[in-house]
Amino acid sequence: MKIAVLTKAIPSYESSIRIDSSSTWIDESVVNFVVNESDSYALEEALQIKEKLDNGSEVVVVTMGSQDNTSKVLKDGLAKGADRAIFIQNEDSNTDPLSIAKLFSQNLKDENFDLVFSGLQSDDLGSGQTGVLIGELLGMSTATLGIETDIQDGKIKIKRELESGWFQWVTLPFPASVSIQSGINEPRYPSLKGIMGAKRKESKVIDGQLSDDPKQNFINLFVPKTEKATEKIEGDVDGIVAKLMDILKNKLRVIS
């Protein structure tokens, strides 16, 4: 079984997000890049499948972006147990999901993966399209929001999360592209041995060029307007608590 796991470097939750002078992207110099959360679950799922099958299966981490932001992502994947890495180096600011998926597909096509796993969406652009687009472009079956997987009889069975607490099992033949929901497993931490071993693993760098004819692009980023008249409460803890008590008691009347 040959499994590709698409991972992405995204700004950490704590990072300060500032619009840069182009107004179409953020100031990356003040951002700490980390692995997109649901991608960690996707990698763990792939590693568990490999360990369960134990028959020369291979897990390959794949990412796209600039060298600076993504090197940590690949190192992390290799340290956790991926066998090799593919890095599509690209400094473009093109944010078109279809252009991005085409570049991935062109470079993954000849690998003939049985499975492509991805996180359900990236916590930066959040289109949630890449895995499904690649699946279609490479003629694969697709499923999204997988919360459990089971490999059997040359097929993959996936428990898909639907809305409002509903679920559904779907069965796909290989090759298949499946997006993974967070919470599906417990992602491992890299071991010291894994970290040391990662340096010896193959990491292929491809110079990638996104289409100069994107189907859609950002015109400008902006800070969302507050939808409500929000009252700010800050200061020392005693003051905050007193204010909250007043609101709960006298304004909202939820306590007497």
Partner: protein, 323 residues
């Protein structure tokens, strides 16, 4: 022409699809375009009956045995064929889990843009500009799809439009689209939808909800929030990361994959306000949010934004409430 596609949700038109009808009609009137409504696949005839009163140029019915149950393979193939046949400028759906599952495939099949999870529309003359949230809702972006594209796919986030805005008046015509599918078109198979361990906790009827997010940092701190909930006579709820870590059971989860609530008071503790959570609670009548990050997106929808350390505020507030 604008084509709105209806989604079946266990026998009824999905709530997001109704909002998509309102979105389609709004775009149609701004751009001077007709609106048609497509009833596709699963339960299509019944959806058509339910959509009879909506004002539209035509109601299109696309049915076939092989799409009588949803599959990404079947739906993406049939919708692509419909688009090739009727050439709509825009195809509009609600941003549901089903849409995320199959609409990107239509985008790739036809090489056309799909702008997903749109929160609002503005106009630059005759050309619409779509806004969507990025960077975990800390920012938003305006997107203009390539105008040379014959068709653009759009999905709208819940509550971007209201189903109250749907214009009634019925349809001028009803037509049937001849679906053509072969066995090899559908490679996947699916089992019936099911609900897991329907627990006794119905958060939707709670008057006050105390909800906890990843800011709580550790399972050891959950009892602290439980005490606060108890002191306020509230139900406890959470955002997704807390459930993923196993700190609270999944039936406590509020958001797109959990329950949707609209209590009198939603008291949010250490929740940043990712889109997936906010869609499940933004209808709350009053929202108090505690977060140490002044830029947390939850503050955009909060009535009271408490900027501070929950580890200090929550125990003290609980103590005051218990007095």
């Amino acid at each position: 022409m604008i084509l709105v596609v209806l989604e079946n949700q266990r026998g009824n038109i999905h709530a997001f699809s109704k909002e998509a009808v309102a979105a389609g009609q709004s775009l149609g009137s701004k751009l001077g375009m007709d609106v048609s409504i497509l009833c596709l696949g699963e339960n299509a005839s019944s959806l058509k009956e339910q959509a009879n009163d909506y004002k539209s140029k035509s109601l299109i019915l696309a049915e076939h045995d092989m799409i009588s149950a949803y599959s990404a393979d079947g739906y993406s193939k049939v919708l692509s064929d419909v688009i090739k046949d009727v050439s709509p400028k825009y195809v509009i759906m609600g941003h549901s889990y089903m849409v995320r599952d199959f609409l990107p495939r239509v985008s790739a099949k036809l090489d056309i843009p799909f702008v997903s999870d749109i929160i609002s529309v503005t106009y630059d003359g005759d050309s619409p500009i779509f806004a969507r949230q990025v960077f975990n809702a800390k920012l938003a972006t305006n997107i203009q799809p390539d105008s040379s594209s014959n068709t653009t796919l759009l999905s709208f986030q819940s509550a971007a439009f209201s189903s109250d805005e749907i214009e009634l008046g019925g349809s001028d015509a009803v037509s049937v689209f001849e679906v053509s599918l072969n066995a090899e078109d559908i490679k996947s198979s699916s089992e019936p939808e099911f609900q897991e361990s329907a627990s006794g906790v119905d958060l939707t009827t709670a008057d006050v909800i105390v909800s906890v997010g990843r800011g709580i940092e550790s399972q050891d701190n959950i009892p602290m929030v439980e005490s606060l909930a108890k002191a306020m006579g509230a139900e406890i709820a959470s955002s997704r990361p807390v459930v993923d870590m196993g700190w609270l059971p999944s039936y406590r989860q509020v958001g797109s994959s959990g329950q949707s609530v609209s209590p009198n008071l939603y008291f949010s503790v250490g929740i940043s306000g990712a889109i997936q959570h906010v869609v499940g609670m933004k209808g709350s009548k009053n929202i108090i949010a505690i977060n140490k990050d002044e830029e947390a997106p939850i503050f955009e929808i909060a009535d009271y934004a408490v900027i501070g350390d929950l580890m200090e505020i929550v125990p003290k507030l609980t103590e005051e409430l218990q007095k």
